[in-house]
């Protein structure tokens, strides 16, 4: 029963990821000079490939991909693309922006601290230190840069205020992803599926927020 629900959920997520990738790629094709949408399309494309691998594993081999697999690698790739966006946006800051961001750097450190603590909990629950360490590093950096951009974006008008909605959705993405890890570690299968569906919605929200931000 759970397998069937999970399979249906995977198909929904695949459709959402494909739509998000196509929308971001369309934006990227329209504005070839913009690296933002090209990297965003890469992030969604990577996530889509991971979901495809996971679904095919379930369909063809009849079981879940246990341990580290190509699906996990694609999720890591997706986080790296999103992290690249964060690094790129902070890299475009002027000296005034950097000074303005200085006061928020300490506050932004709370995000990676939470991620690291959560991953220590996952290691305790699942007993898999290697996988969790691999996921913890990019997620912690992504959380730090996203929170920093979110905090500075609202206060300093020069500093990409229009992308605040996008940063908010990335924070939501991180929350949902971590809730998926937690429910998976605790063995709450139905709750995991609920968060998986939330992830599909979050991804669509990310594209919408990014599109609005770029238009503004």
């Amino acid at each position: 029963m759970i397998e069937t629900i999970d399979l249906i959920n995977q198909f929904i997520q695949l459709a959402c990821m494909a739509a998000a990738t196509a929308l971001a790629a369309r934006r990227a094709m329209r504005n070839r000079e913009s690296w933002f949408f090209q990297l965003l399309a890469g992030a969604f494309g990577c996530y889509f490939l991971g979901d495809l691998y996971y679904t095919l594993h379930l369909l063809i081999l009849g079981d879940y991909a246990v341990g580290f697999s190509a699906a996990d690698l694609s999720y890591l790739g997706s986080y790296s693309f999103l992290l690249s966006i964060g690094l790129g946006l902070t890299g475009e800051w002027s000296n005034a922006d950097k000074r303005a961001a200085k006061q928020y750097r300490r506050a932004a450190l709370t995000a990676p601290a939470v991620i690291i603590l959560l991953h220590i909990l996952y290691v305790y629950l699942s007993g898999n230190p290697v996988n969790n360490a691999l996921f913890c590093v990019p997620l912690a950096f992504l959380a730090y840069y996203t929170l920093l951009l979110f905090l500075t974006g609202g206060k300093d008008k020069k500093n990409e205020p229009s992308l605040r909605g996008y940063h908010w959705t990335v924070l939501l993405f991180l929350f949902v992803e971590n809730m998926m890890f937690l429910t998976s570690s605790l063995g709450f299968e139905l709750l995991f599926i609920v968060f998986d569906i939330m992830m599909s919605v979050t991804v669509l929200l990310m594209v919408r927020a990014a599109g609005k931000g770029a238009a503004a």
């Binding site: 594993h57 341990g67 190509a70 890591l76 997706s78």
Partner: protein, 219 residues
């Protein structure tokens, strides 16, 4: 039994001679094509070593099919990426140069893989040889293109060079994993696996032709 090293020597020897006779971009292409052949040769040994070491240490015991789906794509893509990363880091070339080099490595890899496959499993059915040859060739070319375009896109933007390159490598390895998963199954999935890279390659070629036509019309 024909050893993979023998196949490598047979394929690489005339190309090595060509390196001394040809100059310019063609020489660079041939040099990295040989790198691709070498990467394929090494991939066979590295895959077997890692699978054996993992089983020996009790970490995970894999059958050949599981190894093909889980381990092979990652090993092969990393080995294919190494010469491209080295080229980008040392020579700091133009973006188009990175894509060309990545494609040369990918095509060299596909050539060696197809030849080894042919030697080991025979070539009695021409249809199978054609289907597998084009599918594997297209798949390696697409993986190389993902890596090449990804690296070319980020490597001059210093802040995102590392994360972007890693992400491109992950995307290429996962695409390879999906292909291997499909072709390791039988029936419909096998047909879908052989069709997927060819359809994607066709789509990419159409996009490139369309873009070139647009540029021509603008001019």
């Amino acid at each position: 039994m024909i050893y993979p090293v023998n196949i490598f020597i047979c394929l690489a020897a005339p190309l090595v001679i060509a390196l001394f006779l040809i100059k310019g971009r063609t020489r660079r292409f041939i040099a990295f094509f040989i790198c691709g052949l070498l990467a394929c040769l090494l991939a066979g040994y590295v895959n077997a070593f890692i699978a054996g070491a993992a089983a020996k240490n009790g970490y995970v015991s894999m059958t050949t099919a599981q190894s093909m789906v889980r381990l092979t794509p990652v090993c092969e893509e990393v080995l294919k990426a190494l010469p491209v990363f080295l080229y980008a880091a040392v020579f700091r070339p133009k973006r188009s140069g990175i894509v060309t080099v990545a494609l040369a490595v990918g095509l060299g890899f596909a050539t060696m893989e197809n030849t080894s496959q042919l030697m080991n499993y025979g070539a009695s059915q021409i249809l199978f040889v054609l289907t597998r040859g084009f599918a594997s060739g297209s798949m390696h070319a697409i993986c190389a293109a993902i890596l090449g375009y990804g690296l070319a896109f980020v490597y001059k933007r210093e802040r995102m060079a590392f994360t972007g390159s890693f992400a491109a490598l992950c995307a290429a390895a996962t695409f390879h994993g999906v292909y291997n998963m499909l072709v390791s199954a039988g029936g419909f999935w096998l047909a879908a696996g052989y069709a997927l890279p060819n359809i994607m390659a066709g789509g990419i070629m159409l996009c490139i032709m369309n873009a070139e036509l647009r540029i021509k019309n603008k001019n």
